[in-house]
């Protein structure tokens, strides 16, 4: 069973005659804590059909279900890989350690890959972490700002003599990942028998958005290095100076994929 290094939260006793703030602090702690408080009757009135503890339990049951569901939405492949019960267990530990601090649930699961990395007792933990990183990056790309991509014609219009000094600004909705496993293969609808256990190997991928669809492009290590250099603002001259490989083919594919948003020419 996975063990969390994080300390559990417990509701502290709060005087029932206190302020609005105290009442809210008490109720929030009572909902978020793994253990139900014994002080429900001090704060909550009974109904005709339910005791104070039973009324509180409605909120206590809804909260974890809601947070686990939010993580399932953002991490469907991880959920499938771990299986429902283990995923739920991890999600509950995560929710306890990292309660949402945003107005949107879109941000809730952002720390999950890092959290999984600290969990002990997981089978193939590095694979689970990489899978979570992949899915978290896909979610980031999904929500990223849109920018129209450069066309091949716009790039071809750059004067030849300026190419060394060109900076290609990548679209905001692009992320480059270096992973220990090619985890994106889990997203394939059918895996070959031999691929069901995806083997560990250095893996590189560009995750980007094309016409609002999130897509990914596996890369060689060399292509990854060139694209990373470009995305960090290096000129074409610098990025390609040490590159070995079919650079023109990479370039053509990246332009066709719409990875670049603007051309800047560095002054001499």
């Amino acid at each position: 069973m996975p063990r969390s290094p994080h300390r559990l939260l417990e509701p502290r006793a709060v005087a029932s005659g206190g302020s609005l703030k105290q009442a809210q602090l008490w109720l929030q702690r009572a909902i978020l804590s793994p253990a139900a408080p014994s002080t429900a009757a001090k704060h909550i009135a009974p109904s005709a059909t339910l005791t104070p503890a039973e009324r509180l339990a409605i909120y206590r049951d809804l909260y974890p279900a809601r947070m686990v569901h939010a993580l399932k939405v953002d991490y469907p492949l991880l959920h499938q890989y771990l299986g429902g019960p283990l995923f739920t267990q991890l999600a509950l530990l995560y929710a306890q350690a990292h309660p949402s601090r945003s107005f949107t649930l879109n941000a809730f699961g952002i720390a999950l890959p890092h959290f999984i990395a600290k969990i002990q007792g997981l089978r193939r933990p590095d694979f689970a972490v990489d899978l979570a990183l992949f899915e978290q990056t896909c979610a980031e790309v999904f929500h990223e700002t849109e920018a129209p991509p450069l066309t091949a014609e716009a790039i071809a219009a750059v004067p030849h003599e300026a190419w060394e000094r060109v900076r290609l600004v990548t679209i905001p909705a692009l992320r480059l990942l270096r992973l220990r496993y090619p985890v994106w293969k889990r997203a394939q609808s059918e895996l070959d028998e031999g691929e069901r256990q995806i083997r560990r190997q250095p893996s590189f991928v560009a995750i980007y958005r094309n016409n609002y669809d999130v897509v990914w492009l596996p890369l060689s290590a060399r292509a990854f290095a060139v694209l990373t250099s470009l995305s960090r603002g290096s000129t074409l001259g610098k990025s390609l100076s040490a590159a070995r490989g079919p650079v023109q083919t990479w370039f053509r594919d990246w332009v066709a994929a719409g990875l670049f948003a603007a051309v800047q020419i560095q002054k001499r």
Binding site: L20, H143, D213
Partner: protein, 283 residues
């Protein structure tokens, strides 16, 4: 659209019968541009995002009236107001030309935490003063009246001294804000809290009601959960008719958020309200 008498103090229009904008219906809407009076949009789903949902919202806001309905305003919280959130909400309202902006009489968290639940307020004088001040401040930032929805609640605080309908009515008066009267929530909370739903409907000042919600729920025997997962039941339709008889024609929205059926099913459910409103005016 035929002329409808306007019944609220801000002369905000009766938009007719609308439904909530849900991602499962995106493809259908974009393909067919179906006949529906208006859409209600969950504000937070279109904030802090630049992806497809925002693009879809832009297409819809060009063609249909839109209102914003939030779940994270946390109007009753004792945490400071979230100014960046309010600024982003204001920007979204401007972008969509939202006819109004609404949220709930509730709080969602303190100490910087968001439970993403609509937590009940203790209904006390202190809470009323606190919430009034916050609503006024929010309206200053948004530069428009805030429309507050009555919540579904599953517990009540021992310290509450004011009826919920009186709390909401007095809050609306002191803060000069509007009310989104969720008739299903009235039914749900009446069962859970033991108050009279008809009295609640009659208690709310008609000239402050800008919008009505209708929805289904899940009855658990000992309590009702506001699940928005089914058709509207007959008793809720009766409450809606009672409200229509007193308050006239008000923008009406059908909420369906779980086990969402096809667009046409949800639309048909929304249009049932036309029959009950007509019945009320014929009475």
């Amino acid at each position: 659209m035929p002329h409808r008498p306007i019944s609220n103090k801000w002369a905000l229009p009766d938009l007719g019968f609308g439904i909530g904008l849900r991602t499962v219906h995106f493809l259908h809407i974009l393909a067919h541009w179906p006949k529906i009076d208006w859409f209600e949009v969950l504000s937070e789903n279109y904030m802090a995002t630049g992806g497809r949902p925002l693009w879809v919202l832009d297409q819809i806001a060009e063609r249909y009236p839109v209102v914003l309905h939030g779940v994270s305003l946390s109007v009753g919280s004792t945490d400071p107001l979230n100014i960046p959130y309010l600024k982003e909400l204001k920007a979204l309202a401007r972008r969509t030309r939202a006819r109004w902006v609404s949220d709930h009489l509730c709080w969602t968290g303190v100490s910087g935490i968001n439970t993403h639940d609509l937590l009940p307020m203790p209904y006390t004088d202190a809470a009323l003063r606190h919430t009034t001040a916050r609503v006024k401040a929010i309206q200053e930032i948004l530069e428009r009246p805030l429309i507050l929805e009555n919540p579904s609640t599953y517990l009540a605080f021992n310290k509450s001294t004011i009826r919920e309908c009186d709390f909401l009515s007095e809050l609306a008066e002191r803060a000069d804000c509007g009310i989104l009267l969720d008739v299903n929530n009235v039914y749900v909370s009446a069962f859970n809290q033991g108050f009279d739903a008809n009295e609640y409907i009659d208690c709310i000042p008609a000239n402050r009601i800008v919008q009505v919600h209708l929805a289904g729920h899940t009855h658990k025997g000992t309590h009702i959960l506001d699940t928005h997962s089914d058709h509207v039941i007959a008793e809720v339709w009766k409450l809606y008719r009672r409200l229509s008889e007193r308050a006239g024609a008000i923008s009406t929205l059908l909420e369906w958020d779980e086990d969402i059926p096809g667009f046409d099913v949800v639309r048909a459910e929304a249009l049932k309200a036309r029959r009950y409103r007509r019945t009320a005016h014929a009475a």
